[in-house]
C-alpha cells in the first residue's frame, strides 16, 4: 500500500518542481506576499502613529469671533484654524474636508461674560478613508476640551477657588504595550487571513493539477489501470499536495519574519513580530493546510478540467477568507469554538500575533479541530475516490 503512494508522491513532486508556472505560484508568490506584508506591517503602524500627530487644517466659519486662547490651544495640538472660503457644509459632506467649525458672532463675548458659549462641529467620518476623518475629529474634540478646561481654570483662579475642586478624579493613562504588541495590532488582523489564504491557495493549483489536470492530460486512466489501490492513489496525491503547500506556508511566514528583521529600526521602531509568533503560526497552519488540501482534493477530483476545477474551487477560497475574518472580528467566546477548522486556527494565530494571553488549550483545540476535520475529509475522500466515478462521471 505504502510503496504505490510513495511512488505517486515522488512523481508528483518531480512533476510540480519542473512546472515553472506552478512553482512560481507555489514559491515566489508566497515569499513575495510574506515580505510585502512584513514591510507593510511596521509602515501601517508608523502611519497610524504619524496620522495622530500630523498637523491638520480646519476651516472655521466665523474665525474672527474666536477667542485667541482657543486658537492657541488648537495650535498646540497641531490644528491650524483657517477661515472658511466657500460652502463649508458642501466641502465636508463631499469628503473634501473631514471637519469644520462654525463659531457664532457672540462666541468670544459669551466666554468673556462667563456664559456657556456654543459652537458647531461639522464632521465627515468617512473623509480621508479608514484612517482619515475620525482622527481629525478626535483631535478637535480634545482641543475643545482643553480650551474649556483652560477657561474654567481661569474663572476659578479669579474667584480664588482651587481648580482641583473641579477635578475630583484625575486619570493618567500610560500605554504599557510592548513594541511587539504594537506590531501585532495589524498582524492580529492580517496574519490569520494571510496564513489561511496561503494555506488554501498554496495547494490549489497542485491539487487541481494532480486530479483534474491528470484527467485532462489523459494520464489518469493509465495510472488507474496499474495495481495501485484507490487509497494509494488518493493518499499519494494528497501527500504531494500537502508537501507542496507546506513550502509556501513556511516561506510566507519565514519571509514575513526575515523581512521584518531586515528592515531598519527607524522604520520598525522595534515593532517586529517575535520569531516564536511566526514559527508558531507555521506549526499551527500545517494541520489547517492538511484539512484544506483534503477539501481541495475532494472537490477537484470531481471536476473534469483544470478550468472547471479552478472555478469550482473559488468559493472555497472565499469561505476560508470569511472564516479567517470572522475570527479577527468575532473571536471565539468558548474554548470549543477553537475546534472549528480555519476559524479556530485563525483565532489562535491572531492571539499569537497580539502577544496577549492565549485562552487555555486554544492551541491544542485548534490543532485537534484541523486534524479531526482532515481525518473525516480523508475518509470521505477515500469513499469518493472510486476509479469508475473518477474517470467517467462528470
Amino acid at each position: 500500500m505504502g510503496s504505490g503512494a510513495a511512488n505517486i508522491w515522488m512523481k508528483e513532486l518531480r512533476d510540480t518542481v519542473r512546472d515553472r508556472k506552478t512553482l512560481v505560484h507555489a514559491l515566489a508568490v508566497p515569499l513575495a506576499v510574506g515580505i510585502a506584508y512584513a514591510v507593510l506591517n511596521p509602515l501601517l503602524t508608523a502611519f497610524m502613529e504619524s496620522k495622530a500627530e500630523k498637523p491638520i487644517e480646519v476651516p472655521v466659519k466665523g474665525l474672527e469671533y474666536a477667542d485667541p486662547a482657543f486658537v492657541e490651544v488648537c495650535a498646540r495640538l497641531g490644528i491650524t484654524l483657517v477661515p472658511c472660503e466657500g460652502g463649508m457644509e458642501e466641502s465636508i459632506a463631499s469628503g473634501e474636508k473631514p471637519a469644520g467649525l462654525v463659531l457664532p458672532p457672540d462666541f468670544s463675548k459669551k466666554v468673556a461674560a462667563e456664559k456657556t458659549a456654543s459652537l458647531d462641529l461639522l464632521t465627515n467620518d468617512t473623509a480621508g478613508g479608514l484612517f482619515g476623518g475620525k482622527f481629525s475629529v478626535k483631535r478637535l474634540e480634545l482641543a475643545l476640551l482643553a480650551y474649556s478646561q483652560t477657561v474654567a481654570v481661569k474663572r476659578l483662579a479669579v474667584r480664588k477657588v482651587d481648580p482641583a475642586l473641579l477635578a475630583p478624579v484625575r486619570m493618567d493613562a500610560r500605554d504599557l504595550s510592548s513594541p511587539a504588541q504594537r506590531a501585532g495590532l495589524f498582524a492580529a488582523l492580517m496574519l490569520p487571513l494571510l496564513v489561511a489564504i496561503v494555506a488554501a491557495q498554496g495547494g490549489m493549483f497542485i491539487a487541481i493539477d494532480v486530479t483534474a489536470g491528470e484527467k485532462e492530460r489523459g494520464t489518469l486512466e493509465a495510472l488507474l489501470a496499474t495495481p495501485a489501490s484507490d487509497a494509494e492513489v488518493f493518499l499519494g496525491k494528497l501527500s504531494a499536495v500537502f508537501t507542496m503547500t507546506s513550502v509556501p506556508v513556511a516561506l510566507t511566514l519565514a519571509g514575513f519574519w526575515i523581512a521584518g528583521n531586515l528592515l531598519p529600526a527607524s522604520v520598525t521602531k522595534g515593532a517586529v513580530l517575535p520569531a516564536g509568533v511566526v514559527f508558531g503560526s507555521i506549526l499551527l497552519t500545517l494541520p489547517l493546510a492538511l484539512f484544506l488540501n483534503v477539501v481541495l482534493m475532494i472537490i477537484s477530483v470531481r471536476t473534469r478540467t483544470f478550468k472547471d476545477a479552478q472555478s469550482t474551487l473559488m468559493p472555497v477560497i472565499f469561505c476560508v477568507s470569511a472564516l479567517a475574518m470572522a475570527a479577527a472580528f468575532a473571536p471565539p467566546s468558548s474554548p470549543f469554538m477553537f475546534l472549528i477548522p480555519i476559524y479556530g486556527t485563525s483565532a489562535v494565530v491572531g492571539s499569537l500575533a497580539l502577544a496577549g494571553p492565549m485562552p487555555e488549550h486554544a492551541v491544542l483545540l485548534s490543532m485537534a479541530g484541523s486534524f479531526a476535520a482532515s481525518a473525516v475529509g480523508i475518509v470521505l475522500g477515500l469513499r469518493l475516490f472510486n476509479r469508475e466515478r473518477l474517470l467517467y462521471s462528470a
Binding site: N7, K11, R217, E221, A222, L224, A225, P227, E388
Partner: protein, 249 residues
Amino acid sequence: MIEVRNLCKHYGRSGEVKAVDGAEFRCADGEITGLLGPNGAGKTTTLRIIAGLIRPQSGTVLVDGIDASRDSAAARARLGVQSDMSGVYPRLTSREQLRYYGRFYGLRGEALEARVRYVIGELKMADIADRRAEGFSRGQRQKVILGRALVHDPPNVIMDEPTNGLDVLAVRDTRETIRSLRSQGKCVLFSTHYMDEAERLCDRIAIIASGRITAWGTPEELKSRTGKDSLEDAFTALAGPEGLEKSGH
C-alpha cells in the same frame, strides 16, 4: 489468458443503455484477439471492464484464472493496458515515465532499469528516452504509452485502437510490436475498426455490436460462416441487424 463471461454493463436510471450486454469471449496466450465493432458497439467499455477501470453489473473477467472482481489488483498486475484516452506526462522524460509505471508493479533497482532499457530498445525509443514528453508527436507519445503498458512484462496486453491517428510508419511499428508480443507467448487483445488491420494481425476476432458478441472465430471462419470473400463483408453481415438477430437480439 483472458476470459470474459456473460459481461453486462448498463447505464441510465433503469439501465436502458446497454453498453455491454452479455459479452463472452476468450483470448488465449500466444494469440492476438481482435475486438471488432462499429462506433458505440461497446469495445472500449469491454476493455475498460477487463482493465479494472469499470465495474460490471454482472459477469466475470478472468485474467490468468484470477477473478478481476474479487482480486482486482492481482488481475491488474497481470495486465498491460494501453487505452485510447491515454496521454503522457509532459514534464517527465520517457525513461522517467517507464520507471514510474514499473515501480507500481514492484520493479526496483537494476531489475527496473533492465526492463526500462529493454522496452526502450524494443520500441525504438532511444532518441526520445531522455527527452521530456512535451512536444512529442502522436507516434512518439504512442511509444511512451505502449512502453508504460509493457514495462512490467505483462503476460496479457490490452490495447484500445492502438493505431488510431498514427502515420504509416508509426502504424507499422505498432503492428510489429503487437506481433512481437504474440511471439513472446503473450495474450494480446486489441480493439480496432480497421478491417485490414484485424485481418492481418488477428488470430481470432470477436465481433461486437450493441454490447453483444455476435460472432467469434478466426478471420477465415467468420468469412466462411457468412459466405463472404472479405472480412469487411463478413463484418457487415455479423455486426448488422442480421448478426444481432442471430445472436439473440
